[in-house]
Amino acid sequence: MTESALLRVEGLTKRFGDRLAVDGISFSLQRGELVGLLGPNGAGKTTTISMIAGLIRPTAGRIFLLGRPLEEDRTTLRRVGLMPEVPSFYPYLNARQNLEVMARVYGADPGEIDGLLETVGLAEHAGRPFRTYSQGMRQMLSLANALLGDPELLLLDEPTNGLDPLGQQRVHQLLRDLVARGKTVLLSSHLLRDVQELCQRVMIIHRGKLIEDSPIERLLRPGELRVLVRTVADERAFILLSGPARPEWISSVDRHDDHLEVRLSPEHLPELSAFLVQHGLYLRELRPLEGDLVTAFFQLTSGTR
């Protein structure tokens, strides 16, 4: 393991009584990575984040932050900003006072509070008590709190929960900026499109186990490629590609109203066009269909892959 790993988790396990919430998870995050953490409800995402944030003690396994084991040196947690699933602040204090309380606890400079409130779009509402905030404003304050003290690692649990499209856009842009500045982000979200749009890498937890940890490209374009094909004669093309003359590298062909959908190994894509032209089936359109994370997620978590 290189020194560049900001976070390294080895065999992380958490058992609550008889229930195994997290089962031997291992992964690492490099500096400047934005990694999505996906999984169905109750999969163990929040428990994993809570263990990394030092809120829950692992039953087994180790966490290394900035190369140091967390159980031996908890001071490294000062470099970790957490945005929990539910924004939690003192209802009788306003946004600025809430951040002031937390800044004192974190040893952060209270001078950065105004800038952070500006960044998350709460500067105008900074004097209002937290209890009067909408869900979206609460989320934004929680994000500002996570950014207090300029932490190196951000653990974000459902950061766009309850945000309007503008708020979501603001969070997306903020996360991109943070990563551009070399910050590392672990983003847990139910909104798969958020993850697809933002993350370079995706980890999927299912029933407490890490069942996938790969670059998002690989998830979106798995071993089999789906290709949209439109020719001068789709009916004839369908008969050709699904009949006895079908090349072995084509796994299936589906007929749609105005096109065919062909599944094949990605490296054979050039051969498909040549094969069709050879048989007088000139192409009107041939393009790979984008995979989407939703499909990949369901395939992985339903055990069909």
């Binding site: 030092g54 809120l55 957490l82 004192r104 974190y106």
Partner: protein
């Protein structure tokens, strides 16, 4: 630790509950004292139906006797308000989920408990000083009304008693507020902690009152050890031991003192027993905070 303490001070001073509870306490005290001052002007009939030559309430409402009640107001009546505020200070961290951001950057859990304990002890002082000041003011008013002047000569002679009275009242209240804090952290609920400690205080105050009536019957019997155990063990018995010393200091020779139970005072024993209780509750809070913290508020 300094940051945690500063954060706790900021929270408690900006919390409306802190000031509302103090306001209610001062209102209760003012109402009770004004009633007593009024009663002190009413000629009370003695057993032979003749008016008493001196109203026994006069000593209680005028200076320096008024100081006994003023100093003991927080450990007797004020303790209820302090329990509610102390339990709420710790319990709402879990109910609102604020314990998560508080602990998320590796803040020491034991230091958090110590900061909370320090702030709740500061609250005792915060409640003690204005109630004593109000008691002093109303005592001065009553003295003016009864004697036409405000006696001040006692200040030179009794300043040490005033100081000791403040310390005794503080010390008699500390174990209760620490119990409320510890139970709020243990149960992760303000309501449960308040309920438990308030129930204990009420049962103890009623029970101790009943026990004082039964005490003479137990004396010189084979059951006299029960009285000794109660004197040693009960939180309220030891707190009363300390506050009783303040009452004796300021009401010595008055008609009121004759009604006090004539127990032998053991100030050091009582102070040490209360210290032991305070230590136990602090240890309980320190152990309870070590448990895992979920990221969802307990109220949701």
């Amino acid at each position: 630790m300094r940051g945690l303490l500063a954060a706790e001070v900021l929270k408690v001073t900006r919390r409306p509950m802190t000031w509302i509870a103090l306001g209610i306490l001062l209102a209760i005290m003012a109402t009770l004292r004004i009633l007593l001052i009024a009663i002190s002007f009413v000629p009370l009939p003695a057993a032979d139906q003749q008016p008493m030559p001196v109203n026994p309430f006069v000593d209680l409402v005028t200076l320096p006797g008024a100081l006994a009640d003023a100093l003991n107001f927080v450990p007797s009546t004020g303790v209820f308000a302090l329990l509610v505020v102390a339990a709420s200070l710790a319990g709402t961290e879990f109910a609102w989920g604020t314990i998560v951001p508080l602990l998320s950057r590796g803040a020491s859990r034991s230091q958090l408990v110590l900061a909370k304990a320090a702030v709740t002890m500061g609250l005792i002082v915060l409640y003690l000083l204005p109630t004593v000041a109000l008691g002093l003011l109303l005592g001065a008013v009553a003295s003016q009304l009864h004697y036409g002047s405000i006696p001040l000569e006692w200040i030179r002679e009794r300043w040490l008693d005033v100081l000791l009275g403040l310390v005794r009242s503080f010390w008699a209240t500390v174990p209760y507020v620490l119990a409320a804090t510890a139970l709020a952290i243990l149960f992760r609920s303000s309501a449960l902690a308040m309920g438990t400690v308030l129930a204990y205080v009420i049962v103890e105050q009623v029970g101790l009152g009943v026990f004082q009536l039964l005490r003479p019957m137990l004396a010189n019997t084979t059951w006299s050890w029960i009285a000794s155990i109660i004197d040693w063990v009960l939180l309220g018995a030891n707190a009363n031991e300390l506050t009783g010393l303040t009452t004796r200091a300021f009401l010595a020779g008055s008609a009121q003192l004759g009604e006090l139970p004539a127990t032998e005072a053991h100030p050091w024993r009582a102070a040490l027993v209360l210290a032991a209780y305070a230590t136990v509750f602090l240890a309980l809070a320190l152990a309870a905070i070590r448990r895992d913290v979920g990221t969802r508020p307990t109220s949701s």
